[in-house]
Homo-oligomer: 547 residues x 2
């Protein structure tokens, strides 16, 4: 590696590349970009969330000069406690981002006023050998930024999560001037958000939601319930505005929605000039046609307010006939089924449900293909690196870059854990570092691996069977009938015959009196027996008590 | 119930209403429409498939005058063996549908040449008090039909699964003439497929796929692999045609794809006038640029050809750098995540993947909202009953019916298990019959219920712990240290301390020598202990061996 080489390293497993954490390494200096978590896929049984594997950093923690967070979403901030307990370097973010991070660090007892450094879009700061210029981008949370990073090899632009909304709710468009300024200076490499790169066209403006809300609010005779993400502050603003236009007051329901909105009001990201907001207990006293309730649960999460309402288990109020529920969010990939089921359950309770595409009550926070091409045309990078997407989006994004004139050799599609080496002249795909996902389950960080997940996978589909028996240590004979217990395997009350035959099977094998490997022989035989009988493969545990 | 009442009863659980099975009951005469299975949702652990609960029919099997199958898809035919072993009545279907059913009955050793009666679109037959007229509809399998059922209370039209494609691959549009004929006679009630009722506009014609295929085939230098459903015969036709236009030969890969296509060729639904088809082993000998391989696996099923290719475990051939894989299907709801993962894995292996929306390589087989309104306008029913969708689609469909003039009181949105009572004058929502889903797991039909699924759910997320101990029957003292075993709970090698503390906990509780309920006391204490230690709730089994 020549001295003048910048190493760009996205961390994590086979997921969205560089979304949760990315390193810029130059000599003995490391800049960390984002520190987020990933939500588990359905097959990652029992995993609460996933953080990037930081093994690569372990002997280099003292080289980290700073942690820059591009915006306040969980997939960019949710692992902050797992890095803040190891690294002393300051954490940089815009005011809203810092407010959200502060709450996380306080909860983890890692907060310290000196650790968090507020910056604003437009600011420029030096972090080790990097000069970082923050520029505003539109996204589905206020105060998101992209980064212009002047490195010793050249200017690298990182889009952050972004879209090019010309009429965002806060009237603060993506900073085209700054982007033009970068282009004028000459951009060595662009890293850009690929999330929607395989979607044609432009992402609709948030402005179209106002009209959809008005239509839905006008048609509603009863209460309006709007479910969205607790971090989607601009949507709270749109609901406040639409409620005001339609003669309704708004109550925010649920801790995360209330806490985030309070923070946003305090910092000036959320305005309520007409005093539309009021506490829930007061809202519940108003006529239904005068009330909007705003809450979480757009992903069908069972523990969210909407999740509890859908099964009639919310404490303070229930769904009522005549309610209109607006799902102001799209399902996150993998949640489609549970969202669909939640909608059906809400309808069963007599409420009407409005979701995209019935009305455009949500738009994505990520740029689609035409915007992507626009950004590349504006930035005019020499090298292009699609990030923040799964492999398929990155490839679609690479195709878009070709279409707007970036030569194929100047585009690098990489996976998490691959080192990119950037010089003033070249972009090279380097080695892979070990590591991938770190699963967090309960208080366990990294103690769940492939073996435990394989066991859970098998338990999920076929349950387990325990065979417990006492054997005479001298004669090797059964002292009593073996006791067979199962969970998640069959409905026990209807399966007496099956278990009786299994007991006989066990007894006949024990009779052979081959001591060696009796446990594994029994497990194998029973596994075969149950598969032949009922085509299921439970985990089998044979316990031999020698007496 | 007056004598002149037709009872319409969709069977099943909270799923797509009337899709898998529906009954028309008049006096002591029952007509069964469709006999399909449902694929399990992700939370239905280990369930292979689901069939409608037929308890209602149990004392009425001899009243069934016929079973009419609208088309050959699994969700309309997949439960045929479960009804054919109980009911003697003839099964009616078009030639392709009958061919597919015959294979299922043969596999279940229930085939009998007299049971299956082939009809053709345009035919009219009497089944008990019902005169059933079959009319052709476009769908994603050839030879699908809708039904015009003249009942003692009036003419009821059932759309089947349909769309209004003007340029289908087989050039056989939905039979508008017959529909007009029904309208002229006066339609009492329309039952219509709601699957895409919440989607705006029209479903694109299959014809647009030809252009997308040509674009993809032209761009491909290596092999083209097309994955779709084995039943999507028209897509096989389109792939044969596109391959011929682009100088390629086609090999079908995998049993279901080969068997279905053979049947379709034999019955004349699939044409290969230029001898484009050839066996796989011969195709593998041709230059890559001359080969198209067609297979299943569009849903990322691990056991399908494409699923095996994506992880490098296919027997006859592997994915190669330069292959172009076309996913000619949309993910079935609930499969989005696994399809996405499969695409990423294929890309990791160096192949290019083309899917909608990158190119329109698939279109839905179901009518969208404008087509739905069109059909209602054409049929002019007095009463309207949306079917074949989840509750949310049915409600969207009901809204569409209002928009085209069906009064709200004349529309009935019902769930499976609800009896609809139709007279010449009225449509009434009647009682609910007991029953819902019947889960099939291995060879067990209906033995898996909520309790086993709850156990599997808990096992999937936290695994289990067994505590095995020997106790002196006299002194109630432990004779040895309790042995603790676990699966799917923690990585055992890293958890020695945890298990040691659990052992101590057990010993201290046993020391109290309260005999009563020692097992349940231990289970409760350990559950609490593990939750406090590691925030997980495994299933705990305490085994006490008294010696």
């Amino acid at each position: 590696m020549s001295k003048k080489t910048l190493r760009i390293i996205p961390l994590g497993g086979l997921g969205e590349v560089g979304k949760n954490m990315m390193l810029f390494e130059y000599g003995k200096n490391i800049l960390v970009i984002d520190s987020g978590l990933m939500f588990p896929e359905n097959h990652m049984w029992g995993v609460d969330y996933i953080i990037p594997d930081m093994t690569y950093l372990e002997d280099k923690f003292d080289r980290v000069r700073g942690i820059v967070i591009t915006h306040g979403h969980e997939d960019h901030t949710g692992a902050i406690r797992h890095i803040a307990d190891k690294i002393d370097a300051p954490i940089y973010g815009t005011p809203l981002t810092c407010g959200l991070i502060e709450a996380k660090l306080r909860a983890a007892k890692l907060y310290d006023v000196d650790r968090i450094i507020e910056i604003n879009a437009g600011d420029s700061i030096n972090i080790g050998p990097f000069e970082v210029e923050f520029f505003h981008v539109c996204h589905s949370i206020p105060d998101a930024v992209g980064l212009g990073i002047t490195t010793p090899v050249g200017l690298v632009v990182h889009s952050g999560d972004f879209k090019l909304d010309q009429t965002p709710t806060d009237d603060w468009p993506t900073d085209f001037t700054k982007i033009g300024d970068f282009a004028g200076r000459g951009v060595l490499a662009l890293l850009s958000d690929s999330t929607n790169a395989d979607q044609p066209g432009w992402t609709s403006s948030e402005a179209i939601i106002d009209g959809a809300f008005d239509e839905a609010f006008r048609a509603a005779n009863g209460r309006v319930l709007v479910a969205t993400f607790a971090s989607l502050i601009s949507r709270v603003q749109q609901v406040i505005n639409a409620s005001y236009r339609n003669g309704r007051r708004v109550a925010l329901v649920g801790t995360s929605m209330v806490v985030n909105s309070k923070l946003a009001i305090k910092l000036g990201y959320l305005q309520d000039p007409h005093d539309v907001l009021l506490p829930l207990d007061q809202a519940l006293g108003l006529p239904n046609s005068k009330v909007t309730l705003m809450m979480t649960g757009s992903q069908g999460e069972p523990s969210s307010i909407l999740g509890r309402l859908s099964v009639g288990r919310n404490r303070q109020f229930d769904l009522e006939e005549g309610d209109t529920v607006i799902l102001s969010a799209h399902p996150i990939p993998g949640n489609e089924e549970v969202v669909s089921r939640t909608i059906n359950k809400i309808i069963q309770r007599g409420a009407k449900v409005i979701y995209d595409p019935l009305l455009p009550v949500h738009v994505s926070g990520h740029a689609k293909s035409e915007e992507q091409k626009q950004l590349i045309r504006m930035v005019k990078p020499k090298f292009f690196i699609p990030v923040h997407g799964e492999l398929r989006m990155l490839h679609a994004h690479a195709d878009l870059a070709h279409q707007v004139g970036v030569p194929a050799d100047n585009v690098a599609v990489i996976e998490n854990g691959t080192i990119l080496e950037l010089t003033t002249e070249s972009l090279t795909i380097g080695d892979r570092i070990p590591g991938g996902y770190v699963y967090v389950d309960g208080t366990g960080v990294g103690d769940i691996g492939p073996q435990v997940l394989r066991e859970r996978d098998r338990l999920a589909s076929d349950g387990f069977v325990i065979v417990n028996m006492m054997i005479d240590v001298e004669t090797r004979e059964l002292l009593d009938e073996p006791v067979i217990t199962s969970r998640g395997f069959v409905y026990v009350r209807d399966s007496e015959q099956l278990f009786l035959r299994a007991q006989e099977k066990v007894a006949s094998i024990v009779k052979d009196r081959h001591n060696d490997g009796i446990v594994s022989r029994l497990e194998k035989s029973l596994s075969k027996f149950f598969y032949n009988e009922i085509r299921r493969r439970p985990i089998i545990c044979v316990l031999v008590n020698e007496v």
